[in-house]
């Protein structure tokens, strides 16, 4: 997959991804897309195009356990989130819905860069800067869940957890 980067900082919490008030009246993520990142950058939701990539620093997705957070990112058309580290619950939630969450050194990636991601081989090519980085492999159980496109498909197939 290939996409353009929107760069975010450290400790982007799930309230910043989708605030409590904007998820109160619905649990359909499509209705929340216009409010994505509203409290930290009110125009970012409008700038995100289908196929774009989010790139963050440490601890992306900290805070609340709301699964609406990765759901809204996915519903906005974001293809992958790259971060130096992810908060625990968000990381599970994202993989559970089949959203690629890639742990890698995001330091050299800048706003607007174009990245080509090879999920199979764990390689991210920064087309703009002609640089290549690798991302960390998922633990086996998460890799299996991701492979199936998420936990719903995984459980329908396996009728339980296989570790």
């Amino acid at each position: 997959m290939r996409g353009q980067v929107h760069k975010l900082g450290d400790d982007i919490n799930t309230d910043y991804i989708i605030s409590g008030k904007n998820k109160r009246d619905t649990f359909d993520p499509r209705e929340m897309v216009k409010h994505l990142f509203e409290d930290i950058d009110p125009t970012l939701a409008m700038r995100i195009k289908c196929g774009d990539i989010l790139v963050a620093g440490n601890n992306f997705g900290c805070g609340s356990s709301r699964e609406a957070a990765p759901q809204v990112i996915k519903a906005a058309g974001v293809r992958a989130v790259l971060a130096k580290s992810f908060a625990r619950i968000f990381f599970r939630n994202g993989i559970n819905i089949g959203l690629p969450l890639l742990i890698c050194d995001t330091g050299g990636i800048e706003e607007g860069d174009v990245l080509e991601i090879d999920l199979e081989n764990g390689i991210i090519q920064n087309i703009t800067r002609n640089r290549q980085i690798t991302f960390r492999k998922l633990p086996a159980v998460m890799a299996d869940i991701f492979q199936e496109g998420g936990l719903v498909n995984y459980l329908r197939k396996n009728q339980g957890f296989v570790v």
């Binding site: 919490n13 619905t26 609340s64 699964e67 619950i89 599970r92 633990p139 459980l155 570790v163």
Partner: protein, 417 residues
């Protein structure tokens, strides 16, 4: 080689000898979802082809986030939960209090239990010596269907707290100090095990506050040993202790150790817009406030209300401050009424809000205005957290919130003792 508390709990629930960094499938003792993330879990449960719950009597739904219901859309969402509970014969607590307080009062959580909840502050029950952690809606749906989840057995950081908290300094100040030390991701994927003489001296309500906020450092859980105070808490709440407490072995292996001298601490303030942006109160600039919010799953318990009432007794809150008080549950509301705390607080000028998450998460019952400065006993102060990104939130103990309400500016409660 010995085991930590959570290595023992996971070994018991995976039916094999496991250590930190093992991946296991574990049986779940209790599971809880609320109106914030529960409806999505129900939707996913049906996507999974779910027809029956694995353990209905151990599956709990709590309506607490949007209470009293603010509009017809939310009323429809509440109806989804009520109908599901009826169909699945599981347990519902409808407008009776904040989920974490209700779960501790009414769900039969025992020391050594493994509990999951659709809320990050599910870490709260660590104060009862249970392993409890937050999960998303898909994981929750899977737990409802199978009674199990997969886990990475977490490493543990030992938090040794020596000395003694000085008067006017509370468990909340201790955990805010810990957030300053560890920062927002200092314990990610790990567990905080709280130990030491200062921990033994803490009230149960203060331990609950600290376990609640373990997740603000990224922790998967924050766990306390079971002692005579835990036993007394069960007795006070009319609950029976059915399991032995779980203690770590003396040769358990820890991923790290943090030492804190409680005697050296003063009241702490988490400044906007991060929980780890902490300052001792003595180093705070003059900060006028417009709103004081007392309550939440972090600090809405009886001793929190008692602390605030003692400070506000016979006094009036500042004319430029509105003060909202939210007891964490109906039982606490009643006890605070019987003990006269609610009377004292309303005489001082506070308004009592029904038990709910409303103002803490910015969905109802006390949204601040533009440029308002709020001092709050809750657990998060992110921009927009209380429903208005132009407001600023300062987190503090119940004592500091009460003292600040009187003077209309952030005030050291020790000046009023």
């Amino acid at each position: 080689m010995g085991k930590t508390i959570v290595e023992k709990i996971f070994s018991a629930h995976a039916n094999k000898d496991v250590r930190a960094n093992d991946i296991v499938v574990a049986e779940i003792d209790r599971m809880m979802a609320h109106d914030g993330n529960g409806p999505l879990a129900i939707d996913i449960f049906y996507q999974l082809g779910g027809e029956r719950l694995a353990v209905p009597e151990k599956t709990f739904f709590v309506l607490d986030h949007y209470i009293p219901c603010p509009n017809e859309d939310v009323a429809r969402i509440h109806a989804i939960i009520r109908n599901f509970v009826k169909k699945m014969s599981c347990v519902l607590f409808d407008a009776q209090g904040i989920c974490h307080q209700i779960m501790m009062e009414k769900a039969g959580i025992q020391p050594g239990h493994l509990v999951v909840g659709s809320d990050s502050h599910t870490t709260t029950y660590g104060a009862l010596n249970a392993f409890s952690t937050g999960v998303g809606s898909t994981d929750f749906a899977a737990a409802m269907l199978t009674g199990q989840l997969w886990f990475l057995v977490p490493e543990t950081i030992e938090v040794q707290i020596t000395g003694k908290l000085r008067p006017g300094v509370m468990g909340k100040d201790l955990v805010l100090h810990l957030a300053a030390v560890l920062k927002a991701d200092g314990a990610t994927y790990q567990v905080l095990e709280f130990k030491g003489e200062a921990v033994k001296a803490l009230s149960m309500d203060e331990r609950i506050t600290m376990a609640n906020m373990a997740v603000e450092m990224g922790a998967k859980a924050g766990i306390f040993e079971f002692d005579e105070k835990t036993a007394a808490w069960y007795a006070h709440n009319g609950l029976t202790v059915e399991k032995d407490g779980v203690t770590a072995d003396s040769d358990a292996v820890y991923a790290g150790k943090i030492e804190i001298d409680a005697s050296a601490l003063e009241p702490m303030i988490a400044k906007p817009h991060a929980v780890d942006n902490v300052s001792p109160i003595g180093k705070m600039p003059d900060t006028p406030i417009n709103q004081a919010s007392l309550g939440s799953c972090t600090n809405g318990r009886i001793s929190d209300l008692a602390t605030a009432a003692a400070i506000l007794k016979g006094k009036k809150i500042n004319k430029d401050v509105r003060m909202y008080v939210t007891p964490a549950s109906r039982a606490i509301y009643q006890e605070a009424m019987q003990k006269g705390y609610l009377n004292t607080l309303t005489e001082a000028g506070a308004v009592i809000i029904p038990p709910s998450c409303g103002w803490c998460i910015g969905v109802c019952n006390g949204i601040p205005g533009d440029d308002d400065k709020v001092i709050s006993t809750a657990n998060r102060n992110f921009k927009g957290r209380m429903g208005n990104r132009y407001a600023e939130i300062y987190l503090a103990s119940p004592a500091t919130v009460a003292a600040s309400a009187i003077y209309g500016r952030i005030t050291d409660p020790r000046n009023l003792l």
